[in-house]
């Protein structure tokens, strides 16, 4: 069964899918998987520090991971963070059409995002060096450097399994599940 993004059915089915995966998939979660994204969402929501630093922030942010078929990532991944005045309203995996409409889009190759989440690559420096691209109003994002740094730090504190660390068997399994989710939810 497939669901149209933006509908109540999509949201309901998405949350049910996430709940099942959180209950059945063993940790550490694979970066960018629905259960990883859901854990990330919860940690941001629980962060008082983020809440303070992002008090005036308005706008959606997308973390866009480019495909890497060799490592099992057959399609672009768009993680949409719905952030509003210090509150993280949601973090979802979304279809490309929705991801590309975000107010801010940070795009990078899988290896770069793995390095960010591993704590090995600082996002501001990565942008300066062209390792991560930023689309959006620089003047606004600059005022919230602390908040965006905190978002990175929260991700880096998570126990994460990276696609580059998977065995061939695990990678094939990931690939199949991702294809199934893509068919159902469009991402």
């Amino acid at each position: 069964m497939s669901y149209a993004y933006g509908t109540e059915e999509w949201e309901k089915a998405y949350l049910e899918m996430v709940a099942i995966r959180l209950a059945t998939v063993s940790k550490p979660y694979i970066q960018g998987s629905p259960e990883w994204v859901a854990t990330y969402e919860k940690l941001i929501q629980e962060s008082q520090e983020y809440n303070e630093a992002a008090k005036g922030w308005e706008g959606t942010v997308v973390i866009h991971i480019m495909p890497n078929p060799e490592l099992g990532l057959d399609a672009d991944v768009y993680q949409l963070l719905d952030l509003w005045h210090g509150e993280c309203r949601s973090v979802r995996l979304v279809p490309q059409e929705a991801g590309e409409k975000a107010d801010y889009i940070l795009s990078g190759e899988l290896a770069r995002w793995e390095a960010v989440v591993a704590g090995d690559l600082e996002t501001t420096k990565a942008m300066m060096q062209g390792k991560i691209k930023l689309k959006g109003d620089l003047a606004t994002i600059v005022r919230y450097v602390k908040a965006s740094t905190l978002l990175t730090e929260i991700a880096a504190r998570m126990e994460t399994k990276f696609l580059s660390q998977l065995s061939e068997e695990e990678r094939e399994q990931y690939r199949k599940e991702a294809a199934k989710l893509r068919a159902e939810f469009g991402f």
């Binding site: 942008m127 300066m128 062209g130 991560i132 691209k133 689309k135 620089l138 600059v142």
Partner: protein, 387 residues
């Protein structure tokens, strides 16, 4: 800020640089080496009136396709869009900028639109381009912004009275011709303020949080050259040796900050530039020593390095004393060259400082300042001191 063991950086300096008197004559051959046959000169009316655009046109010969002379100080989104339309009409396949930073930045914008289409606003951000743009040969006529070797273009949005920053490695000009003859007739005050822009680039590259040794080498030598040759350029404009060395210093300072970014001085200068039309070099000149004083308790060792390059270091001098000496030397230099010392002299109203401080917080440069400047009050204090 000593280099730590965790130092890690990328040094990028791809521009082919051609230096020397009369090297503007190489323009035609350089256009061909870029694979072009129809070169559009992008410039401003002042450069045209000075006969410099004609020099380049002659050098281009059969490769000359036309001249777009609509550039203005601070450029403009509408100017870039007009330039791109004109470039398409004349079938340009190479762009040749002849002018100061605003002209070079305008040309960077045109290069993008010629290749990618759309509007320039679509490309606002960091490193969004994914391929080389229309080839760009930059011929600076000031010394200067260093824009001939940098990945940034600052274009004013005249409708919203703000400056938009475009940063991309694909914006860096392919070739730069640095010919002292093109700066010979620059008036003394413009020589001084554009020269101070270069000094600010060099000093900000050293106090930037992204500071690294290769850029430091460029910046320190630029500082030494500027100290020696900029006053000579101001006093004796026909001194082509001095003009040439000052140009090289500006280019070296550009290479430095292209790799390490600039910081609070530029954030504040951009703001008063956008709000009160203070020329960029003048704003930098006035603000630089005040920001050095502001930063002193965070990066005095960086200023101590600069003090040694300036010949100010005295045995037993503390880093803080060295930093103070640097600030005082900058004031002395600008006073000697007759550059306005205070923002009020540059037409900035006192009741406009708060708006400028607020705007500075949104300027990308600010995040690279060694001492955090995260509140309006912190920046306002520096503005008041400079006013």
């Amino acid at each position: 800020m000593r280099y730590g063991r965790d130092l890690s950086f990328i040094y990028n300096n791809p521009t082919r640089i051609i230096f020397g008197e009369q090297t503007v004559r190489e323009a035609g051959l350089e256009v061909e080496s870029l694979g072009g046959s129809r070169a559009l000169i992008v410039t401003d009316q002042g450069v045209v009136a000075a006969g410099l655009a004609e020099m380049v046109q002659k050098a281009l010969g059969r490769r000359y396709a036309g001249t777009f002379a609509g550039c203005l100080q601070d450029s403009g989104l509408h100017i870039v869009n007009e330039g791109a339309v004109f470039a398409r009409e004349v079938g340009a396949d190479v762009l040749v900028s002849v002018g100061g930073g605003s002209t070079i930045d305008t040309t960077k914008g045109i290069a993008v639109l010629l290749k990618e289409g759309g509007q320039l606003q679509d490309y606002a951000g960091y490193q969004l381009l994914s391929r080389p743009q229309t080839p760009h040969l930059a011929i600076p006529t000031t010394a200067g912004t260093g824009s001939e070797v940098t990945y940034a273009a600052i274009i004013k949005d005249w409708e919203n009275n703000t400056k938009i920053l475009f940063c991309d490695n694909h914006l860096i000009p392919n070739v730069a011709i640095i010919d002292p003859l093109l700066t010979r007739d620059l008036p003394p005050l413009l020589t001084a303020t554009t020269g101070m822009d270069a000094l600010t680039h060099a000093m900000e590259a050293i106090h930037s949080t992204e500071r690294e040794p290769l850029a430091d080498a460029m910046a320190l030598h630029a500082i030494m050259l500027i100290l020696e040759y900029l006053p000579r350029c101001v006093e004796q404009g026909e001194d082509l040796q001095a003009r040439g060395q000052q140009q090289l210093a500006a280019t070296m300072a550009g290479i430095a900050f292209n790799n390490t970014q600039v910081a609070l001085v530029h954030a504040m200068a951009h703001s008063v530039g956008a709000l009160f039309h203070v020329p960029h070099g003048l704003a930098n000149s006035i603000l630089l020593p005040h920001v050095i004083v502001y930063n002193l308790d965070y990066c005095a060792d960086s200023y101590a390095l600069i003090a040694r390059a300036m010949g100010l270091a005295v045995p037993g001098m503390s880093n803080e004393e060295a930093g103070t000496a640097v600030a005082e030397a900058v004031w002395a230099l600008t006073k000697k060259m007759g550059v306005p010392q205070r923002l009020r002299e540059a037409g900035v109203p006192q009741d406009g400082l708060e708006a400028a401080a607020n705007r500075s917080l949104s300027d990308g440069s600010i995040i690279y300042n060694p001492k955090p400047a995260t509140t309006v009050e912190e920046i306002l204090e520096v503005y008041y001191n400079a006013w």
